[in-house]
Amino acid sequence: MRRTGLVFVFILVLLSGAVAWAAEPIRIGAIFSVTGPASFLGEPERNTVKMLEEDINRSGGVLGRPVEFIVYDDETDATKAVTAVDRLIKKDRVVAVIGPSTSGNTLAIIPKIEEGKIPLISCAAAKKITSPPRPYIFKVAPSDLLAARKIFRDLKKHNLAKVAIITASDGYGAGGREDMKEIAPQMGITIVADEVYGPKDTDMTAQLTKIKGTDAQAIVCWGTNPGPAVIARNRVQLGIKTPLYMSSGVASKKFIELAGAENAEGILLPAARLIVEPQVPADHPQKKVISSYIKEYEGKYKQAVSTFGGHAHDAVRVLVQAIRNAKSTDPAAIRDAIENVKGLQGTWGEFNFSPEEHTGLTEEAFVMVKIVKGDWEMQK
């Protein structure tokens, strides 16, 4: 009896081994800023990719082959990102690359990707990555321009035509400032004050005092923590009642914690549906994707999901869909197939790619969210 058992186990081992040996895994590269200043982006992205790798392989892989994600940490350093992409292309011979996490690092590796002719799906947001579209470069994070447009549309809806903008003097803030100044005239918004602050500044009362002296009907702030939290505090401190809009860059609970719930009360911002999942109607096409992502991620890692991990989720889904459609792992065939991915529901929205559109998302990716009693409230 014992022997039969052993033989049985042996056969099982052989069989399970056979499945793994039968097909060479599809190797996909990933570069994320798991450590360094942008670790708040890279860490959830890496976790998400690792989680999806298990999921995909458990359900039979892609084209009958398992997938293997080779993840490198660029430490939020452009030089390290370039080294990593070199290794992925030349040594690991991957069929496609996901990431990097930041716009700067993405722009830094584009020449290598174009030279290596393998598709890249970036998790960063800068408009420059996909406009004008380059054959092998895609991204799944909506451009900041779309977020700016969402805010301005909300301003118009509430008849707030005179706006003061206050932006960080870093890449993210400067990009938002350019976008807002570009679309303001088209959307009938007048920018009556244009203030800037240093990303490391600790007091913005001077800028806000200046804004208080203008006839601005709303304030739009563009930056990532901690600057916007300081501005939220300073605004209450100065007794400014003008509505305050924030960029999607602060759409995390950390912002509310830093600003203090009483200072964040009433602030409006565009955000992904992911952060207001319980309030998304059950019949919304994204509801299922978001709910299952949150449930699985939080169950596995015992930490709250972030919309950034959502970018990695969407990138993997788009890529897997493209490989399936292409029925091939040839990088050029995958590239062509990404351009034809249509109607794919991701955590951020419905992705529709085309030869001209390499981001695949529209303004619909964002919902306006209001901070009420330290929590998000989705606006209709």
């Binding site: 600790t202 009362t205 001077a206 005092t209 208080k212 505090r233």
Partner: protein, 294 residues
């Protein structure tokens, strides 16, 4: 909002932040006076003050009124350790060597804080409850009153210590002539240790009183150190009173620069005015040409 109340607001905001620059500058001055070293780890003392208070409150569950003095005390001990472990072993070398050592210490402290506390930004609750106080159209946070009060008390305390106590006078003697002081029976080593303790203490105080207003993170020390040093030069290196006034002035200049000129060039405006002042008075506002210290 009228122009006058806007102006008042710029001054209040500037003076609040400037008080921390001033306390950092005071720390620079105390060490410089006894050792001729510019301690570039001064900014990290400021950072540690705020961060330790946050973590005593969060991890240790220590109530705020205890967390604040506890943080200041720990940083004071760190200051003493920095002297014992890094400055004393190389005693007698040129001040330049020691200044470079302090730069190393600052990198070490910053890196250590990053590993222990993480890279996030944190907030500390205000010392007292209550909303902003209206002051002729401008507003003043209750925490700002704490900042002004503690800064003033620190300056007065320092003045009393150096003018009226024997230890204070002994420290001054070390500044005047180290060898002569030693011959007079003053234990110079203890005075140097004391100066590091003082400078860490005032730095930590600055960090902890400002944290409720401006938030804190492991890397806020760099900027505060640079601003504190600038305040020192502005007030006249070696003059404790000048250092604090220099800090407050620098804060106000920045705030006015941001409000009246351009927020994009806030720091530039402040530093240009500072450079102009120094061309006019190379030894700083309160420094005498004779380079007499203290």
């Amino acid at each position: 909002m009228t122009a006058a109340s806007a102006l008042l607001q710029y001054v209040i905001s500037g003076a609040t932040v400037g008080s921390t620059y001033g306390l950092a500058a005071l720390g620079f001055t105390v060490i410089y006076n006894t050792t001729e070293i510019i301690n570039f780890a001064q900014g990290e003392f400021v950072m540690l003050g705020g961060m330790l208070a946050v973590f005593a409150l969060r991890w240790g569950g220590v109530p705020l009124p205890l967390a604040v003095p506890l943080a200041v005390l720990i940083v004071t001990a760190v200051g003493v350790l920095v002297n014992r472990l890094t400055i004393r072993p190389v005693q007698g070398r040129s001040p330049l060597t020691m200044i470079i050592i302090t730069i190393g210490v600052s990198i070490l402290l910053r890196g250590g804080a990053m590993l222990i506390f993480g890279k996030d930004t944190f907030s500390l609750p205000a010392f007292s409850q209550g909303g902003p106080i209206d002051l002729g159209g401008a507003t003043l946070l209750p925490q700002s009153l704490w900042v002004f009060g503690i800064t003033l008390l620190t300056v007065l305390g320092m003045k009393f210590f150096f003018d009226r106590t024997l230890t204070g006078k002994a420290m001054l003697a070390c500044a005047c002539d180290r060898k002569a002081a030693s011959l007079m029976g003053i234990h110079v080593d203890s005075m140097v240790t004391l100066s590091f303790a003082f400078s860490a203490l005032v730095g930590a105080l600055g960090g902890v009183i400002l944290a409720p207003i401006t938030l804190t993170a492991y890397d806020v020390g760099i900027l505060l150190g640079v601003k504190g040093f600038a305040a020192c030069i502005l007030g006249g290196l070696g003059n404790p009173f000048g250092a604090v006034v220099g800090g407050i002035l620098l804060g106000i200049l920045e705030s006015l620069g941001a409000g009246l000129v351009s927020s994009g060039y806030k720091d530039a405006v402040a530093f240009i005015i500072m450079l102009a002042l120094l061309f006019w008075r190379p030894s700083g506002l309160f420094g005498s040409a004779r380079a007499e210290r203290v």
